[in-house]
Symmetry: C2
Subunit: 244 residues, 2 copies
DNA sequence: TACTGACCTATTGTCGGACAATGTGTCAAT
DNA sequence: ATTGACACATTGTCCGACAATAGGTCAGTA
């Protein structure tokens, strides 16, 4: 077809989407500060010149991403999306993609040693205290599978938080949400590797206190490889889709 | 306060949230297959025994996460959330957290070399063809800053896709969306490092064709370090928040 | 046949108004 | 200082209505 004139698609978007974008950009740009209360639905409806129903649909759009939350279960408030809020939507996406343990493990292998290394230079006194407390608790609950799993997950989470790197925190959110609960849970039930877990954690914690990035990274790698071996020994379908 | 009876909070959730959860789990469990059309709003309203407004709010909740999309701009369809859909919400979260280039670079340093390594064993013929085509294009547009940036981003994206690891794909989505556009863009404008970029890409591509994971990983590390040096040379606020 | 145009229908987008449920603030009573 | 009564503001839900539009059908025309 020569000589054909091509018009670009006109972008007609429904009002609720437009409103949602307006509010989002107002929050991102800082025009509405996080923690600040939004006007009431009726006010917003008047300001934007649409009905309350439309406003409400726009709000739902934002609510899911964790940009809007509730102050007191009534009024709306602009909030900073936390890792867990974003993590949930990422996790459900991964579930639908039938992500396998193997795939998640690979990502963990990329991020967790990195987190260990970074934490060495960024961990505050407070972070170290929290990690130390976690170690104590881990030792106490060594024989309680459920509690041990929680402590294990918390250790990795504290470690990631100690990097104070929000990108890293968000990137590894699915690990917290999907990988560790399912995979570690299975390993712990099958092998009771409490002692090995504790030893690895202690070395990592020690490396952080000594400000020894390489050691922290290496021990975390060992920790993850150990975990992988656990899965294989336990014969727990490493290449199976994660289910939740 | 001794002897005080504590009731647990009763979890009252609004209807639109309940409906949304029902639909979500129906999709995740496969009861509604992806690609399948959902009933119309009116039907859903009847089935759930609520009004259409409520249904619509529930739909908005899911629409944002990429779980629901439009078949033909009219009927709703269950869709697999793609990396870019999820990536958008992650990115906006990161923007609000005032994530710095440095933080994103650290994550990139954890994920991109990993992707290179994995791609060696997982890349299909098709993947390699796409990468090869990208290299050709890169060479052609070497002097066009904008096109070069696009090619560069596409290379990394193709590489990640070649791993066929959806967890990795989602984890690095913010890199595509935030990091490369802003940071690479600045470097390219400041230093015109087209030649260096192409060389690195070629080595990585070569390593993948030779099935040489270590070489692929090393060259990607070099590539990323090179990039970092570019930022520092160009004196482009590496520790500044990304803005978009 | 292949294209056009008129028409109908189904479905979404938007509106406006209504009421119930519930959290909040005030003020008097004890 | 706590309680109770009360009015008020705000969200959650419902209902009914209409405009806009994508899709299908069907006849008409070249």
């Amino acid at each position: 077809m020569p000589n054909q004139i091509n018009f670009e698609k006109i972008a007609h978007q429904p009002a609720y989407r437009a409103v949602s974008e307006k509010i989002r950009s107002a929050i991102i740009s800082g025009e509405i500060k996080t923690g600040e209360l939004l006007p009431t639905e009726t006010d917003l409806a008047v300001q934007f010149g649409v009905t309350r129903s439309t406003i409400r649909e726009a709000i739902r759009l934002l609510e899911h991403g964790g940009i809007l939350g509730r102050a007191d279960r009534k009024r709306l408030v602009a909030t900073l999306p936390q890792a867990d809020a974003v993590g949930r939507s990422v996790s459900s996406a991964l579930l639908m993609h039938q992500v396998t343990y193997e795939e998640l493990w690979q990502v963990a292998m990329g991020l967790e040693p990195l987190a260990s290394k970074l934490a060495c230079t960024t961990a505050t006194k407070k972070d170290k205290q929290l990690l130390a407390a976690n170690l104590v608790r881990t030792r106490e609950v060594m024989d309680d599978h459920k509690a041990l799993l929680e402590a294990e997950i918390e250790f990795h989470d504290l470690l990631a938080k100690a990097t104070h790197n929000s990108a890293l925190l968000l990137a590894r959110a699915p690990l917290n949400e999907l990988f560790y609960p399912a995979a570690w849970g299975a390993v712990i039930r099958a092998l009771s590797p409490g002692e090995r877990i504790l030893v690895a954690h202690q070395h990592i914690y020690g490396a952080i206190c000594d400000n020894n990035p390489n050691k922290a990274e290496e021990w975390m790698k060992k920790h993850m490889l150990d975990f992988r071996r656990g899965i294989e020994l336990g014969n727990l379908g490493f290449d199976q889709p994660v289910k939740s």
